[in-house]
Subunit: 291 residues, 2 copies
């Protein structure tokens, strides 16, 4: 956090830190709202401040919506049956009391873990589809140990390809006019290579599930570079959300009173580097695209 | 919820429902505290009430601890690196501000999803081991679609067996004097049969990872019966936590003013049926056991 925000709120209680997070995120949103279509708050850091953190999360999401941003709540939730519905409705369609839906986190999309299988994804899909929202299913993550289970070979294909195929199937149930669906896939962009084939995971999955929107995390900080994520896009320049979190919100020195300028510069530089190296350049240069 | 609680708090706002949950759970805890060693609050239903729900969750966990119960927070959390640490510390060791740990949910254990691999489990293990707490890793769940990814065969063994083997390895890093570890496994007790072998999953996993404590959910309501879960126990009667949630908290008619008697009866009946059909009977009958 910038020193000025830390000083104003203090850092000696969970509530103080929650309020500092809220101010910081709100000011970052003001900076990035003209630059980016989407923000992805990470639930964990708000939860770590307890109920007051959850209030801050709620306000940050509200603020982002007010600024016209699409919001992805990164919660990686998963459970079965009515429990999954409770998570899903809290994040998406709202909790139902009597005959009314009460918005809780009210995000446009939620990240979801697939380990429990389709019937555990179903309540998330239902909540998303009732309310015109979406989910992003973890397919292949880019952490060093991701391959331990995700790369196990079953019938000649790694587990994550089985998950990707399922995500492709779920997404074809509800394609939009743009040819993309309300079920996206979280796919790491860095250092992930397919088993055996030598083809990059992003490239492979982009061909396999062309109707699935990819959420590619870790750009800028986890070592991701623009050329690494180029394969996440379709030829028309659509199909991927490249997420830079730490690359933006850790872009300044805490002591810098002009930290907001650093955040803005980091945002602009991220966009420029993506534009140089990916099919996004066709969009940014004004070439016509479908969808 | 019992009508009396619903009437007192109302059900027209998320805050009202959160307060009703808190009263209900607190009174259930008073009933079951003399009967059971462990309670497992489900985070989702509190989250569905927003920040006020999280306050209720916090109070319910505090109440359970005050009554001497071990608490398992069922959050099925998962993420990588510092994000995983934030979830872990919120649930277990407390969020660190400056040099002090601030308890947030302050549970004795947390359920965790393994899809992201060991390095994503590591922060949960660290938080648990710093504070003498534990985690339960999802291994094989009992929902109808659980097999979609968990039963995929890799090297002749289903994915969930690969996860179980990893859990066994992690647990052997920190065995207690009782021969059990701080890393448990969530294993469904009903309708789950191993691939090919015909041996029940619980029976198979009990032999494979004998040092791992099993958390077996869904007893009573998801169709589980005492004979189905008997295999979760070691021969000495230890090694499993059989969890009945709906079997207890949905055991009464909402209109019954004496609903607490039904909760107590359901708790006693659960224990009695487990005692009749499982190695627990050796413990309950006073036979000496090791550990």
């Amino acid at each position: 956090l910038p020193d000025e925000i830390r000083r104003r709120h203090g850092a000696d209680s969970l509530g103080a830190v929650a309020r500092a997070y809220e101010e910081f995120c709100s000011r970052v949103i003001d900076i990035v709202a003209p630059l980016t279509p989407v923000v992805k708050p990470q639930s964990a850091f708000f939860e770590a401040c307890g109920p007051e953190g959850m209030t801050a999360l709620q306000r940050v999401l509200t603020k982002a919506r007010q600024r016209g941003l699409i919001t992805i709540l990164d919660g990686k939730r998963n459970d079965i049956a009515s429990t999954a519905s409770a998570y899903a409705d809290a994040s998406l369609d709202g909790t139902r009391l009597a005959d009314r839906r009460h918005p809780v986190w009210d995000a446009d999309a939620l990240t979801v873990n697939p380990y429990l299988g389709r019937d555990a994804i179903e309540p998330f899909l239902e909540s998303a589809r009732r309310s015109g929202r979406g989910i992003f299913v973890l397919v292949r993550t880019s952490n060093p140990g991701a391959g331990q289970f995700q790369d196990l070979l079953c019938d000649g294909r790694p587990v994550y390809v089985h998950v990707a195929e399922a995500v492709g199937q779920w997404s074809r149930e509800n394609l939009g006019q743009c040819g993309l669906s309300d079920v996206g896939a979280v796919v790491g962009g860095q250092g992930v290579r397919g088993q055996g084939s030598g083809v990059g995971v992003l490239e492979h999955l982009r061909k396999l599930i062309s109707e699935v929107l990819f959420l590619v995390p870790g750009f800028g900080s986890q070592g991701g570079a623009a050329q690494d994520v180029a394969a996440a896009f379709r030829d028309d320049g659509l199909g991927a959300i490249i997420n830079s979190s730490r690359g933006i919100i850790f872009s300044f020195k805490p002591s810098d009173p002009k930290w907001e300028l650093a955040v803005e510069a980091a945002g602009r530089e991220t966009i420029a580097s993506l534009a140089r190296s990916t099919p996004m350049k066709r969009l940014l240069s004004g070439e016509e695209v479908s969808g």
